[in-house]
């Protein structure tokens, strides 16, 4: 723990990078997965294409994806985009399923009632389906966020920033405290992000808590 | 057109469905169940059963009936120690159940629960064989026994290979009963076993249970909140009142004719007088009826009952002018059939018939005559005069 206080500025610096590298992909991935998940919840074909594809994406080791990305999109190996793109991919792979499952679980009679009241499709999606699907979606988002925060560290193995740098430097200099500092930082960040999402979920879906 | 023919057909299957050639081992053991000042208070303070004193006679069907939440299930589950009482004693055949270790006790007591509660991962046959296997029978013997039991409860043994999810609700209930009977326990506990099926299937299952019991001679405790089911199945009926009190414990006829208090009176319902007829057996005069066969040319002047080759009822024809050919399409479907058992059946046959004439049939389903509502009322008056109907 002492390492953190003695090297506060450095610690804060890697925290900022770590946060940026994990939050940006979650946001992008989440936004992308909403239309995809909606498509998968409506069409058998979409599921047959998207779900196996998502599964295969999961099997690619993060370190491999991180080193392949620069070659594929033609940027330097030390660009932050090399962590962001793979994490967006993982987030989408995870969230498509979560969003599709969540939308599929919206009670059919509610949807029918909304249709009967004359909602147009887009409006119905935004005001009925999506809010009702939020609890399950947010549960998926929590998993995606926590695993992203833990995965950003892998980028350090190829020299990128974040807490992972504390791991590799600690390893090379035999400094256990430095590794521990990074580990604690990661876990704390994950717990905070998870708690925040839990809170947001509760505020957004007050109806989910009554009558239980 | 749901005419007489189909009813008779249903009846025919029911008669054929009997356990012909299947040996049922009862061992002749009969057990008494005694509740002595049994109270159950749950941790949250709810008193589910309050000072219950009751003796379930050996070899009878005793029904616990009452409104939701009155403690029927709790009382039942204390017998096989699924729940232990807070105070008081329950004796099965004179032995305090608390002295027996629960799994051992339960293997000697059949238990049928609502929704059947079958094991979804096991075939029907293995579901039925569960208790024999637990009791250490060898697999072959347990399976043979299970197949026998499927037949006893009226299921084709071919169902044995299926999984519960592949059965209808009524079939699942039958399997539930078969599983409870598998190790031939002298005591059977049944908790709303037929509540999840439609009225027609339920009646089938009830009849099947009565038929089974006639052979098996078990001590059965049957829980329901349906008073009609209670009155039909119970040799003795215990009416529970909310709060876990036993309001009355009596034979069905007595419950109807002499309810112990207002609660029982209102619970047994408004049709009490009509229901009482179920328990009255009196001679009602059977009148002859004009019959005709399909395809015959007849002159019809009054209500005529059309019958098939075996003299079983098909439907009615009302008065027509001149000679006509009896055709299936002209038939007016009839009401219920009276098989000569209770006054209620006779009255219902007469009231539900388009001709106001209740068709009387014999065991084979052949027409023997008709009864009229007025005659039933008269028979009731006679029975009352003779003191057979308590006020």
């Amino acid at each position: 723990m002492t390492w953190i206080f003695e090297n506060w500025e450095r610690f804060w610096e890697v925290t900022e990078v770590h946060l940026r590298l994990s939050v940006v992909p979650v946001v992008i991935g989440f936004v992308l997965s909403i239309p995809l998940g909606w498509w998968a919840s409506r069409s058998q074909t979409a599921r047959a294409i998207l779900f196996p594809f998502a599964n295969i994406l999961f099997t690619i080791p993060s370190i491999a994806l991180i080193v392949i990305t620069p070659v594929l999109i033609g940027v330097k190996i030390l660009d932050e985009i090399n962590v962001i793109v793979p994490l967006v991919v993982y987030t989408v792979a995870l969230m498509v399923r979560a969003v599709a499952d969540a939308l599929a679980a919206v009670p059919g009679n509610v949807v029918a009632a909304a249709n009967a009241m004359g909602f147009r499709p887009l409006r119905r999606f935004l005001t009925v389906d999506f809010p009702l699907a939020l609890p399950v979606t947010i549960a998926g988002l929590r998993v995606a966020t926590v695993s992203n925060i833990s995965m950003v560290s892998v980028g350090a193995l190829v020299g990128l920033g974040g807490y992972g740098q504390l791991f590799t430097e600690g390893y090379q200099t035999d400094n256990t405290d430095k590794v521990l500092a990074g580990l604690i930082g990661t876990v704390v960040l994950a717990v905070l992000a998870d708690g925040l999402l839990l809170l947001i979920g509760r505020l957004l879906t007050p109806w989910a808590r009554v009558g239980r | 057109m749901p005419g007489y023919a189909e009813r008779v057909k249903v009846f025919g299957i029911y008669i054929q469905g009997g356990p012909i050639g299947v040996v049922v081992a009862t061992g002749g053991i009969r057990r008494v169940i005694e509740f002595r000042a049994v109270t159950k208070r749950f941790e949250d303070g709810t008193i589910a059963v309050d000072e219950l004193d009751l003796t379930v006679e050996a070899g009878t069907i005793t029904v616990f009936v009452g409104p939701s939440g009155c403690g029927k299930t709790t009382s039942l589950r204390m017998v096989n120690r699924m729940i232990d009482p807070t105070s008081g004693t329950i004796l099965v055949d004179g032995k305090d159940v608390l002295t027996v270790d629960p799994p051992t006790l339960r293997r000697g007591i059949g238990y049928v629960i609502q929704q059947a509660g079958l094991f979804p991962h096991r075939t029907v046959l293995d579901n039925v064989a569960t208790v024999p296997l637990l009791s250490g029978w060898d697999k072959r013997k347990a399976r043979t026994r299970a197949a026998e039991l499927l037949e006893i409860v009226g299921l084709d043994p071919a169902f044995g290979k299926r999984y519960p999810a592949q059965l209808s609700g009524g079939q699942q209930q039958r399997v539930g009963v078969a599983r409870a009977l598998a190790a031939d326990p002298p005591v059977l506990l049944m908790d709303e076993p037929f509540s999840a099926v439609d009225p027609v299937v339920r009646e089938d299952l009830q009849n099947e249970l009565l038929r089974l019991q006639a052979e098996l001679d078990k001590t059965i405790v049957f829980v329901t909140h349906d008073i009609d089911e209670a009155l039909k199945l119970g040799e003795r009926v215990a009416v529970f009142q909310t709060g876990g009190h036993l309001a009355q414990y009596a034979k069905p006829a007595e419950l109807l004719s002499a309810p112990a208090n207002d609660f029982v009176a209102s619970f047994v319902g408004r049709d009490r007088g009509y229901r009482t007829l179920t328990f009255l057996h009196a001679d009602v005069p059977v009148h002859p009826v004009t019959t005709a066969r399909l395809g015959e040319r007849v002159t019809i002047t009054d209500w005529t009952l059309v019958v098939d080759e075996q003299n079983r009822p098909k439907g009615w024809l009302s008065g027509v002018d001149g000679e006509v050919e009896v055709a299936e399409k002209d038939l007016i479907s009839g009401g219920s059939l009276y098989d000569g058992t209770t006054l209620r059946g006779a009255l219902d046959a007469a009231l539900s018939s388009p001709s106001a004439l209740g068709v009387v049939v014999d065991d084979a389903g052949a027409v023997t005559g008709v009864v009229q509502a007025a005659d039933v009322i008269q028979a009731l008056a006679k029975a009352r005069a003779a003191g057979e109907v308590p006020k």
């Binding site: 058998q44 599964n55 295969i56 099997t59 690619i60 080791p61 993060s62 370190i63 491999a64 994806l65 080193v67 392949i68 070659v71 998993v143 926590v146 695993s147 833990s150 995965m151 560290s153 892998v154 350090a156 193995l157 190829v158 807490y163 992972g164 791991f167 590799t168 600690g170 390893y171 035999d174 256990t176 590794v179 521990l180 990074g182 580990l183 990661t186 876990v187 994950a190 717990v191 998870d194 | 096989n80 699924m82 629960p102 799994p103 006790l105 339960r106 293997r107 238990y111 629960i113 609502q114 509660g117 079958l118 094991f119 979804p120 991962h121 569960t130 208790v131 637990l134 999984y163 999810a165």
Partner: protein, 220 residues
């Protein structure tokens, strides 16, 4: 792709077959150790219904642990070798297996469990003969999720000099040999798919046909 199909890379003590077997070995032993820890815990808590929050909390905390850091820490404490790899990977495998087992046992219809007690099963019988067989689909779900993660993450073992397919990724990185890195990644993905297929086969063999959804006709 040339690298992958060069016969020279398919033989010797650092060839593809050896690395594949090493990688598979890490995965298998990790899953066995993980199962020995996670299945009893998840099953027990699921059966008694007590301490569910411990399972959820523990799973979440373990999920947040960065595998790289665990690997490095154990190497710094205990030295190089396979031991740190197993510690890191087992910690990764535990949460999904434990959560799957717990959720599976919890999700068994209470009526079914009640019936199991009602016919006179002892608690061990209720768990082993009824709850676990009925929970198998979800337990397998947990295992398959764990297997995917372990196969993918075992790649990192090579960072601290251990074996497995990760060698190709890290050696390729050091040599700026893109072909070798790509070959490593493809092989890992391939192995993951094979392992998943293996589990799917095992699942078909062990899960009772009575638990398969019936009449799944089109709708939705």
């Amino acid at each position: 792709m040339g690298w992958l199909f060069d016969p020279a890379h398919w033989s010797g003590s650092t060839g593809i077959p050896v690395r594949l077997v090493e990688h598979f070995g890490y995965t298998l032993l990790t899953l066995v150790i993980g199962a020995l820890i996670a299945v009893p815990l998840g099953a027990f808590v699921g059966h008694t219904g007590k301490g569910g929050f411990v399972i959820v909390g523990l799973s979440n905390a373990l999920r947040a642990l960065p595998t790289t850091a665990v690997l490095i820490l154990v190497v710094l404490w205990a030295g190089l070798g396979d031991f740190p790899v197993y510690v890191a990977l087992v910690l990764l495998a535990i949460p999904p297996i434990m959560a799957g087992t717990y959720a599976g046992v919890r999700a068994v219809d209470p009526v079914t469990v009640d019936a199991a007690r009602g016919v006179g099963m002892r608690e061990s019988g209720v768990l082993l003969q009824v709850e676990i067989p009925n929970a198998l689909p979800l337990i397998f779900g947990g295992f398959r999720g764990a297997a995917l993660q372990v196969v993918a993450t075992a790649t990192i073992a090579a960072y601290t000099g251990a074996g497995g397919l990760g060698r190709f990724v890290f050696d390729g990185l050091a040599l700026q040999d893109f072909g070798q890195m790509l070959a490593g990644a493809v092989l890992v993905a391939l192995l993951a798919v094979l392992v998943d297929l293996g589990f799917a086969g095992l699942q078909r063999l062990t899960v009772s046909p009575g638990l398969r959804p019936v009449g799944t006709g089109g709708k939705r």
